[in-house]
Symmetry: none
Subunit: 295 residues, 2 copies
Amino acid sequence: MSAKTVEQRLNDYLVTGSKAERRIATFMLASIAELPFDTAASISKRIGVSEPTVGRFCRTLGYQNFKALKEDLQHDIGGGPWLLGDRLKEFHDRNKTGEDEPGRGLELEIASLVRIYELARTEQWARAVKKIARDRQVFIAGFQTERGLAHYFAHQLQYLRPNVHLVDIAGGNFSEALLNGEKSTALVIFEARRYSRLSESLAKSAKSRGIPLTLITDAYCDWGHDLADEMFVVRTEFDMFWDSTAHMANLSNLLINSVFKELGPQVEERLNAVTRLHGDFIGYVGEAARQDTKS
Amino acid sequence: MSAKTVEQRLNDYLVTGSKAERRIATFMLASIAELPFDTAASISKRIGVSEPTVGRFCRTLGYQNFKALKEDLQHDIGGGPWLLGDRLKEFHDRNKTGEDEPGRGLELEIASLVRIYELARTEQWARAVKKIARDRQVFIAGFQTERGLAHYFAHQLQYLRPNVHLVDIAGGNFSEALLNGEKSTALVIFEARRYSRLSESLAKSAKSRGIPLTLITDAYCDWGHDLADEMFVVRTEFDMFWDSTAHMANLSNLLINSVFKELGPQVEERLNAVTRLHGDFIGYVGEAARQDTKS
DNA sequence: TGTATTTTGTAATTTAAATTTCAGTTTGAC
DNA sequence: GTCAAACTGAAATTTAAATTACAAAATACA
């Protein structure tokens, strides 16, 4: 259904449409950013056409109604697909034509990525990066499904700095792991709704010990604000049969990248040392484990 | 009416509010850019509170209802771009003007996602899904950095079907793990350049035993084509200081979703059983670990 | 100009969203 | 532990939004 963006469709009707259609199209284009706050009724009143006409116009554009138009607007990346251009559009089309459709998901994932990159510019991001880069000890935690993500993050961080620990529940009481007497300790937790309670209790015991917490979670975590110093909320709903925490991995890597930048060139030495060490035991394919440092 | 912005008001209730209020506030803050497209009802459903509670909360904040809150949002978001298309554009532009520079990476990541969704429609994807869903035994492997990803994938797959094993190198020779006499065995490997040699040798020994291999890797894997039955290549270069394999997690979840669809509704029973089991041991937060099955 | 076609608005209907009432539950003070 | 106050959800009601049916107006064009 949707080869074109809302904007493009509207443009088509600026010329070819009937009088009322042109009026509606003009108005919508002029205030496209406010459309989500409007209704078919509010628009019709403002520009002096009847409400059904607005509805009909939306249908002419290919939407079921004004609400459907708004939804499309929500995921519309606009004139944006600069570098992916036709590939994305083509994909978008093919799947909106309705055959099978794992396509709404893609739009949602893109929106989530944008959000993550926005987070990376916040003040709290900078704060978290500084801690993760500089604090003497860093503990990483994640339970159930998120354990893999914690492991992934920890492993990469270990290339950049020493004293990175993956928190383990094995002992039954992980808080002891944190009770290491160090003043300068940071804790990072990967957490998602509906999974375990462990995260919350770990967070509590961290707070009681004065250990600052960076929490990576979803939009359903209602205890995070009390306990976390920084809280990064990623999207988890991508039109899949259950929530996906995969974007925590995307955030992770962006975070790792920021930590790298924070540490600066001095980190290279460690990077090489760790790479060599792994190589001794496991057998690398030969090249360095990293690319040339561009940043 | 607006001494404070919506955001500020919400922040006030993150800590002081009641449980439902905190939940609502958390959610609204996390998805403030999508709020205009929501209704009180849609929000209440997603976060598991009743519709009237959302309405009441808006009133507590000083608005007549959710709609009034949205209107205020329209005003105090004011300057900044909030439509997805505009936000993307902002990144693109800022990146061009060159001030600070995390912007190119976003475009690359989006392109990579598009590619992954394209992969999901290929014939080899369907083949891999069928095997992962139906074969008697499934082994998942990943070493070094990719071990976390393998763990992540395996853990989720375990919700959907039995006999999922994370391949462990601990014994020194994992091929024994695969030597289980089963005819119907599948192997999935997460692999990235420059890390370990283990993947290749595991793949070889799988091939010699006639075990089909699904390989998730980067563009630099030169042995995959010979040894893998299906090979999914994800992008790893996102303008970061080293390659990121995070998109393997995105692919993972799409794969899991496909497996779910392949298995059909019959899988629900297992899903609930596993969820309950985890709950018994660890203590879930109460709700089911999954959403309603839409697909 | 007259007629067929398209476009549009009015009023009634249907559908969706928000609100009220009230009863059950939780929370916190004692 | 007990009780009052505050909080929350289910069901019913009200209100707002969108759609339909149909008639009036505008337009195209012979």
